[in-house]
């Protein structure tokens, strides 16, 4: 019996996540008109986002040496990454609100891991809009790659690492709110900012910034290095080619850092007492 319990255990948090998410979906669709507008609105935000980039190309043929379909490849990869992360754990952005209102105290008393509770809170289906749109853009970009089995593998690794990297960035920078509860916008600079930045080829930025985005804050691994491999391009900054295989490593480092900072944040947390 005890063996069975230990076998089931790793799935326990995920099952709880699913249960809480289901509750929020039911709550969401109880205002049907508003829900319909939310879905249309979020699909529209995402669609118009890429239309903006496409309109740029009515005045130019290439941006930073990349044509529209190549940029679509970058766009799709980063879009799916932030879409998956945002859908699964986007609510972690509101951690400061939970601290302020004392909801974190309630959560701490419940027999479900805190991160699972925070991330599944206010789960919303509307975020699937971003994944859908990014996938459409990525599929449209596929013909630009000269496909080989190793490139197919790299594309899959890219999408997984990109999601994991954004997962890490969301958690990492939301933790700042354990110290300053109303600075939730700070994280946006890294999560949504990272997403916006990686929609463009890194060649539009100065070399120093490209290196910083590789070594200091490894956002370039979201899509830039894997895409260089997919497109068979030499590194425009003359950086080593093995970097193109390092996205999983960068993702592992960021996720580990995020989980460590999360633990530190939770330990640092002292109730507001209200």
């Amino acid at each position: 019996m005890a063996d069975l319990a230990t076998l089931v255990r790793p799935w326990h948090p995920l099952a709880r996540y699913g249960e809480i998410a289901r509750l929020w979906i039911r709550a969401e669709i109880s205002y049907p008109a508003s829900f319909a507008m939310l879905v249309v609105g979020s699909m529209l935000i995402n669609a118009l986002d890429f239309v903006g980039i496409a309109i740029m190309f009515s005045s130019i043929d290439q941006l930073g040496g990349f044509e529209l379909r190549e940029i679509a490849l970058l766009y799709g990869a980063t879009g799916i990454g932030i879409g998956v992360a945002d859908t699964l754990i986007g609510s972690v952005e509101r951690i400061g609100e939970y601290v302020r209102t004392g909801r974190l105290d309630q959560m701490l008393t419940k027999p479900v891991p805190l991160l699972v509770q925070v991330c599944s809170d206010r789960f919303t289906l509307r975020r699937l809009g971003r994944i859908t749109q990014a996938t459409v853009v990525l599929v449209w970009a596929l013909p630009v790659v000269d496909w080989t089995p190793s490139r197919v593998g790299m594309a899959l690794v890219m999408v997984l690492s990109s999601s994991a990297l954004f997962f890490g960035l969301f958690v990492l920078f939301s933790c700042i709110q354990f110290w300053t509860t109303d600075a939730n916008e700070f994280a946006n600079a890294f999560t949504y900012g990272g997403n916006t930045l990686t929609q463009y080829p890194l060649t539009i930025f100065p070399r120093e910034l490209a290196i910083a985005l590789t070594v200091v804050l490894p956002i370039a691994f979201v899509n830039w290095y894997p895409c260089l491999y997919l497109l068979g391009r030499p590194d425009p900054f003359g950086l080593p080619e093995w970097l193109q295989f390092c996205s999983p490593l960068a993702a592992a480092v960021v996720v580990t850092a995020a989980l460590l900072v999360w633990r530190t944040g939770v330990r640092h947390y002292t109730s507001t007492g209200s």
Partner: protein, 265 residues
Amino acid sequence: MLYVAIATRAFRRYSTYRAATLAGVFTNSVFGVIYSFAYLALWDANPTAGGYDKVDAVTYVWLGQALLMTVALWGGGTTDDLAERIRSGDVAIDLYRPVGVIQWYLAADLGRAAYHLLTRGLAPTVVGAVLFQIAMPDSPAAALGFLVSVPLAVVVSFGLRFLVASTAFWLLDATGARTLSGALAIFFSGMALPLVLFPGWLGILAESLPWSAMIQVPNDIWLGRHTGVDLLGALAFQAGWAVVLLAACWLVLARATRKVVVQGG
């Protein structure tokens, strides 16, 4: 005088969240840097795109970041409070005050906008001016025009946001309408991309919709693209939409008031 008092208190209310303001300034600056490099690359590839040059384009980016919170492009501001008060029923208290609901919320929103212009508007612009080359208005008329244009942009934005919040009278939850309206605002205001780059009929359509009064028009006035009679025309365009939208708010509110049932006890 009453409205000045409301506006001053709204200004103070927002000014209590210092860490939030700092975080916001930082985020605006990061996005400003990203878009500046993107636009520099675009104008590298086509130095006369949309009739702007590189300095105009970078100035446009930072003005956009400065106005983003000031005109509450994504939604937010006092109209969010209104939507929540409609949902909870507290709006009944607003309705029996001896001050018009629209005037009350507009005055508070102008106070909020003034705070956001002085902090989230000014600070990222300084960052932008340090990192990039930014154009200053080259005539007193352009500078003065911009100062008139910004409050008008806020009123146009308020009108749209008030209408969005009012949907809560019928739908109870206004977040759907808010998201939809935010998406349109980002695209058609010129925030996502200057409307001067929009090709053909799409450009003409975008420049005549109310959203263009929120970012594109004030920015073009700053950049000196409207002079003389054209400048007055641009301001009249904003004022025209402001009047139309406020009239629509008034009509919608009149209908909604008949619908409100206040629970006693």
